[in-house]
Amino acid sequence: MTRFTSERVAAYTALGALGLLAGLALGRVEPVALAAPFLLAVVASALLGEKPEVSIRLELDRETALEGDDIVVLAEVSSRRAVARCELLLELPPELELEGSPVRALRLPAGEPQTVEFVLRCERWGAFRLGPLLLRTPDELGFRSWEGSGGSPQALRVYPREETLRSLVAPLETQVFAGNQVSRVRGEGIEFADLREWQPGDRVRRINWRASALRRSLWVNEQHPERNADVILFLDSFAEVRAGGRSTHDNAVRAAATLARRYLERRDRVGLIGFGGSLSWLLPQTGLRQHYAIVDVLLRSDIVHSYAQRGVDVLPPRTLPPKALVLALTPLLDDRSVTTLLDLRGRGYDLVVIEVSPLEAAAPAPGDPLELAYRLWRLSREAMRWQFEQIGVPVVSWRESAPLAAPLEEVSAFRHFARPA
């Protein structure tokens, strides 16, 4: 711990010395009398405020939380010697908000542990470390204080709050493993697809006796098999628009976490590509473990500004399996992301672009001189969307105020009317 002395002690010392000198010089007792209480205060400051022996134990009521949840941090503080005043400061990242003052002051009786409770509100997702607590123990009059820190840091993970989704974007192509997705191909399954004439090797149970009786030859039912799909979440982290504490990247992470959970529930394999200043990826896997792995990568994702030219070629080949559905969550702000997405489509991937709209956050006030530039920017974005749509890629805009289900329904409608090649 480090000892600090108040500026008042230096001032009182100077005043005392000045009074004594003035008394000597003037030959009067009044300056000495004036100096006496200040010198007494200096003596008191030296006698008070021994080095405390404070120990702190930090504890969280839980290690994981959702956005908007409240977390209780308990700090158990104890000291061998009595401490007149103990001030505790819990330093917090801006994503966590504390109810009331972040500094608590209490008296510590000797050998009696005291518990201080901090209630935090998790305003934004992320992985955090809380602690150590900053400690300050001034004496009774605030002349001298000891400052230090205590309590081992505690890990806290705040998961993004997920959206409610009833339906998902169906991939155009499925994989060979069993899943919940009705495949477009024909084979063994539940969903009826078509009738065809019997061929040697067809099982008897597949014969449609009614159709066979009508046509006087054997006809069999064909079904669509249930298969799983490979879904790649492409998270664009080159740039974001931030306004009022919310950003396009925050929303993209929320959407990615929601989509990952829902697709994994359907037994699809889900992978993740964080494409930006720092590159991150997860190979497609299935199961709960993959969900936590994806969320962990999402919690660490952040906007990293970079001038490096990046394209599909920097990604490991296994992160983008053939016939995968690529769901791109992007604000469409960086040309590198746009070029990469066009490149992915050019390589035959089933691409869906969910534009996390930056328009509302960047909109100027009416009458602002930037209004013209804003309109031009919107036009250029429209041109970009048109470019995607021309090659059969649905581009849907998601605003924070709207549910995520709305743009996904829009994708389904687009695919219904404009089936890509």
């Binding site: 500026e7 001032a11 009067r28 007792v29 205060a41």
Partner: protein, 156 residues
């Protein structure tokens, strides 16, 4: 209020000499400036100026010893302590209610002991100088005690 009291005592003693009004007002202004803008930095200067105003007034009054000096000294000390407390209270701290009372009690105790010490200083000044072995011994012992105290405090 404490500072106003100290300056008022000084001005009353000097019968509102206009030359003392200037440093008195300047000291008050400095204290106000310290309280509102600069924080603790100008506090010492304001207290020194207030003390100087009183000493000048006392010297100008023609009396050999001004008996109100201990009172003014304690008022100035209280002024410094309360100003320091108010500076500390500017930080948004959620404190146990008992802590405020403890600091108030400690401040009052310091002021009372300070008043006693200042009174003792003024009373001792009435002792006849250079008369008697006892006073000389007490003076020497006091000087040694002060030196020892200074060394002890410096080593802490």
């Amino acid at each position: 209020m404490a500072y106003g009291g100290a300056i008022a005592v000084a001005l009353v003693r000097a019968r509102f000499d206009r030359w003392l009004l200037v440093p008195g007002a300047a000291a008050g202004g400095l204290l106000l400036l310290a309280a509102l803008v600069t924080g603790k930095r100008l506090l010492g200067v304001a207290l020194a100026l207030g003390g100087a105003t009183f000493v000048a007034g006392a010297a100008g009054s023609g009396r050999s010893v001004d008996a109100t000096a201990p009172l003014v000294a304690v008022l100035l000390l209280l002024c410094g302590e309360l100003a320091g407390w108010s500076f500390d209270a500017r930080l948004r701290i959620r404190a146990d209610p008992g802590l405020g009372w403890r600091r108030a009690a400690a401040t009052a105790l310091l002021a009372l002991v300070g008043l006693g010490v200042a009174t003792l200083v003024v009373a001792l000044s009435a002792a006849p100088p250079g008369h008697g072995l006892a006073w000389t011994a007490i003076g020497a012992a006091a000087a040694v005690a002060v030196a020892a105290l200074g060394v002890t405090l410096a080593r802490r």
